[in-house]
């Protein structure tokens, strides 16, 4: 087992498993942004959705046509001052925290890069990646308007880590959200769990939760982004956990057939195009053993969402770096799982909320 010296790098220590920003002013700035998001965005979500929907309903009555493109929707709903204010506030706060976090960690860019390089060679666990990997276009967008997204900045995963802390508004501190999902992740019906993999693992929060849940299993975290798996490994070493990370597109995994007992994806599918979702489902079925289980944690399908939520979702897609989310919520992913050959344990929305979408690979 290796030991990474972090005191000289992280002079302000950790907040849970997340490195603190490098000075108090940056932390205070992000505290403000986090609180402002809770008060000025999340608390107004339903109100703004209703206002926008009312405007769209009125236009539909007057013209007999309900707009469905983001540009047409924007032209209508932004006439309502509170709606325009909400989206201005949202975009500004979103861009603000990414910029401030990157600036803060950027004060020690070289030192962080050195720490990641040292961690590449250390255990527990391991990381593999290809420095020459060429990303498909869909994996290069600025997801959530984070500059460089998940693949384009060497310290992007570190920035993402603190950014998600703000995004969840305190609801996911110390990885509590991800670990609760890991705790609830369904096991195969025969109870045998020797190998587990999270695809699209980003910074490894869920993979670490799975390792804690299944300490005797071989736990893998794979992600298309090299910055993600490298940082996930560094972060996992801090926790003393043995997780194996690898840069792999989830639709093209370097594993043999029938290899895993559990494959899970947490908040991955709404960030990728539907054709890729179909390929991933086929690949997950291939690498799962008969009786193995695929567990999908992600947004609800449009059929289980209100109209107001759909309008807000469209705006999120176009203005918050979520271009694939509408495709996902409208694709009926439960049907796609069945088409891929999984047998769903439940179709009940309440149950899906509690357990995620759980599909068994038939024996």
């Amino acid at each position: 087992m290796g030991h990474i010296e972090t005191k000289s790098l992280l002079t302000r220590g950790f907040n849970g498993n997340t490195p603190e920003l490098l000075n108090r002013a940056d932390e205070a700035y992000c505290d403000f942004v986090s609180g402002a998001r809770n008060l000025l965005m999340y608390a107004q979500f339903q109100n703004i959705g209703k206002l926008g929907e009312a405007e769209l309903d009125q236009a539909a009555k007057a013209t007999g046509h309900r707009p469905n493109s983001p540009d047409a929707i924007k032209a209508l709903v932004m006439k309502v001052p509170e709606v325009a204010t909400y989206f201005r506030v949202k975009r500004t706060l979103q861009e603000s925290y990414w910029r401030r976090i990157a600036e803060s960690y950027g004060l020690k860019q070289r030192e962080f890069e050195q720490a990641l390089a040292e961690a590449d060679q250390m255990g527990p666990g391991s990381v593999t990646y290809d420095p020459n990997f060429v990303y498909p276009a869909y994996a290069t967008i600025d997801i959530h308007v984070q500059p460089g997204g998940y693949t384009g900045q060497r310290l992007g995963a570190l920035t993402y880590d603190y950014g998600t802390k703000i995004f969840f508004g305190g609801a996911g501190d110390a990885d509590s959200l991800h670990h609760s999902m890991a705790e609830k992740t369904s096991a195969p019906k025969d109870g045998v769990v020797k190998r587990v993999m999270e695809i699209g693992c980003s910074i490894g929060q869920m993979a670490c939760g799975l390792k804690k849940r299944f300490p005797n299993a071989e736990v893998w975290g794979t992600d298309i982004g090299a910055p993600m798996v490298r940082y996930a490994h560094w972060r996992t070493i801090q926790q003393g956990l043995d997780v194996l990370y690898a840069q792999m597109p989830a639709e093209d995994l370097d594993f043999p057939d029938n290899h895993f007992d559990i494959v899970t994806a947490h908040l991955l599918f709404h960030e990728i195009p539907v054709p890729v979702i179909k390929r991933i489902l086929a690949e997950a079925k291939r690498v799962l053993r008969p009786g193995g289980v695929f567990v999908l944690w992600d947004f609800f399908s449009a059929k289980n969402r209100s109209g107001a939520t759909n309008f807000m979702g469209l705006m999120d897609a176009s203005d918050n770096g979520e271009p694939f989310a509408p495709g996902f919520v409208n694709c009926d992913v439960e049907a796609l799982m069945e088409q891929a050959g999984f047998k769903l344990r439940s179709h009940d929305p309440q149950e899906l909320g509690r357990t995620g979408r759980v599909g068994d690979k038939p024996i």
């Binding site: 999340y42 979500f45 201005r88 959200l177 609800f300 897609a317």
Partner: protein
């Protein structure tokens, strides 16, 4: 391991996906929301000022706390300061009051709304 070159693999991974570049949101863009973009700029400035003012207020609270509990304060002590859960809650409440006071007029037409934390689609039913 894939036997394809990185370029060949990227091409394979991109098959049938040319359409994604045309999706709204694929390019980050620089959207504005008001007919007069200057209103967007002014709101941005107002939010940034609020954040920068909070930084000063945060520093003042930490300074006062350290002077009260330690009898002295240095820049290093401020940087190293780790608030207790109680002090963290006190600052959070202060921040909430401050933010409401500054920005409550933004949503005058629809009411202020209480504070709400993030609830994802995954968690909503639960």
């Amino acid at each position: 391991m894939s036997t394809l070159t990185p370029e060949e693999r990227a091409k394979k991974l991109s098959e049938g996906l040319d359409y994604v570049k045309d999706l709204p949101g694929f390019e980050r863009g620089h959207p504005h929301y008001f007919k007069d973009p200057m209103i967007d700029h002014l709101l941005e400035i107002v939010l940034q000022l609020g954040a920068e003012m909070w930084i000063i207020r945060d520093r003042q609270m930490v300074t006062e706390h350290l002077l009260t509990t330690e009898g002295k304060v240095t820049p290093e002590m401020i940087e190293a300061f780790k608030p207790s859960p109680e002090f963290r809650e006190k600052m959070k409440a202060e921040r909430g009051t401050y933010t409401r006071r500054l920005y409550q007029s933004l949503y005058d037409g629809i009411g202020p709304g209480g504070e709400a934390a993030f609830v994802s689609g995954v968690l909503k039913v639960r």
